[in-house]
Symmetry: C2
Subunit: 292 residues, 2 copies
């Protein structure tokens, strides 16, 4: 299950994006209409507000990261001259935390002792509310030189094709989560064979973890969140009807690897090109692409 | 920065573990004294309470996962006979959410429409509070056939050795986070070379993402959270004075890979052996070990 609600919040959610803090040490407010890329059909309806900078102490000294292309690989480092604290070049997505989940007290935003970033701190019990990226886990299932895709029966990206994938739950490993999601979305029993890709999407606070997998039995059928499940040969993959940029990147890398003779493990960052439509899943750059 | 507070909560935190739900569809309550493995010195002080099962609908049909060892690799699948929904064989760690972070309303635990798991739902605004595993990102820095380790100047595992690593923040990629943590803990400017390992620890809701890296400049010195930073040749690595099981696994895999001639990418699950001391970082099994 991969639903926008978990990341994008409801109509009352407040969303702020941080963009190139090394230049402004602040925020640029943008609409999710132009920036969200993996769950484009969910909208927040109220005006966006600046919440608070996560990092004020380091923002002024933060610097951009660079990619050194070396053939098919690239390496990432911090740019030169001290201090070398790393810029968060990508944008982040957060919702303001107003109350403590544990005691119900109102929160204030401050930098806790010994930390570097602004956090929501409870004014009653003093607990800190951390917000961290979430993992989306899924399976790229190989069967008879084809791959299994599911047609989404839910928003966002209703009617478009995806690998079975969804949020990793507390208490399960990434492989367990990927197997569970595959059962839920494609009623397919799979065996995880090898890790295939980790794709970070800092803009929306998600990391995709994809495993190469195989069917234990040649049976599959759509679960409640899918309208159709189907095996595609590589030249049949519906690249113009995929649900998310993450799936496009994964299937592109897989297709290239198969043609080259051997699947590798890929790490990369998906950055949506600013100003492009969220429904244009092709409007991204794959940065910091590393392979093993 | 890697602090126990973020996962283990404070003295008022409530912790429950789910263990083999396919057998009981419920919880077994255990002390973190016997189960926590990566942040062993942080303790919760109040009695643990059962919060609520995450998954009631599927619990009765859940089944265990098996590992098929095939030489140096293993594959994971769901066991036989339908229904094949996947068991969360590992334990989970959660704290009960009492109040809505957004509106301050009291929560109730129910299974939302279209979902499978119990969630904390706000009784006022209806929003669902999701809890997901967190990513810990770090660097395995190679320099002159040595690796850089930091001696911890903070709890947990004060005085023990670790790779520079800490929680991934919203708005950054895993590689950016690993570079930032390396700067914070070792004042070292590094270049990320390749992904090396993903190690899930379902028991405590953490996933370690480790990158092979190299120093951009041959300079490093302890940051506030480290008392010492030092380069170790492979036969000098202080395997009996490492801070966490995750570091032990990472450095063991790395040492084996170097001896075999080539670092690979490793995926695996670290499961603490039940009944062993949390301070015994050797008391684990590495399950579902896959390589690319």
């Amino acid at each position: 299950m991969l639903k926008a609600l978990q990341i994008f919040g409801s109509s009352s959610g407040l969303v702020a994006f941080r963009w190139k803090p090394h230049a402004t040490s602040g925020f640029i407010l943008v609409s999710t209409n132009s920036l969200s890329c993996s769950a484009p059909r969910k909208r927040t309806r109220r005006p966006y507000l600046v919440l608070s900078p996560f990092s004020t102490r380091k923002a002024s000294s933060s610097r951009a990261l660079r990619v050194h292309s070396t053939g098919s690989e690239s390496k990432m480092d911090a740019s030169s001259s001290p201090p070398p604290s790393v810029a968060v070049q990508s944008a982040g997505i957060v919702r303001k935390i107003n109350f403590c989940q544990w005691c119900g007290g109102a929160t204030k935003y401050e930098i806790p002792d010994g930390e570097e970033k602004m956090r929501a701190i409870c004014t009653l019990c003093g607990k800190i509310a951390y917000q961290n990226p979430k993992m989306v886990v899924g399976c790229l299932i190989e069967h008879d030189n084809k791959v299994l895709l599911c047609r989404r029966n839910i928003q966002p990206s209703y009617g478009l094709w995806t690998l079975p994938a969804g949020y990793l739950e507390i208490g399960e490993s990434a492989a367990e989560g990927a197997i569970r999601e595959t059962w839920e979305e494609a009623s397919a029993e799979v065996e995880v064979v090898s890790p295939f890709a980790q794709l970070d999407i800092p803009l929306i606070g998600q990391t995709y973890i994809i495993f190469l997998s195989r069917l234990k039995k040649p049976h599959f059928s759509p679960g409640p969140e899918s309208s159709e499940c189907r095996l595609f040969s590589l030249d049949e993959i519906p690249f113009d009807s995929l649900a998310f940029s993450s799936m496009l990147v994964t299937l592109n890398l897989y297709t290239e690897d198969v043609k080259a003779g051997r699947p590798k493990f890929h790490y990369g960052t998906i950055n949506k090109r600013p100003g492009t439509s969220p429904s244009d899943i092709h409007a991204y750059t794959l940065d910091y692409h590393l392979q093993s």
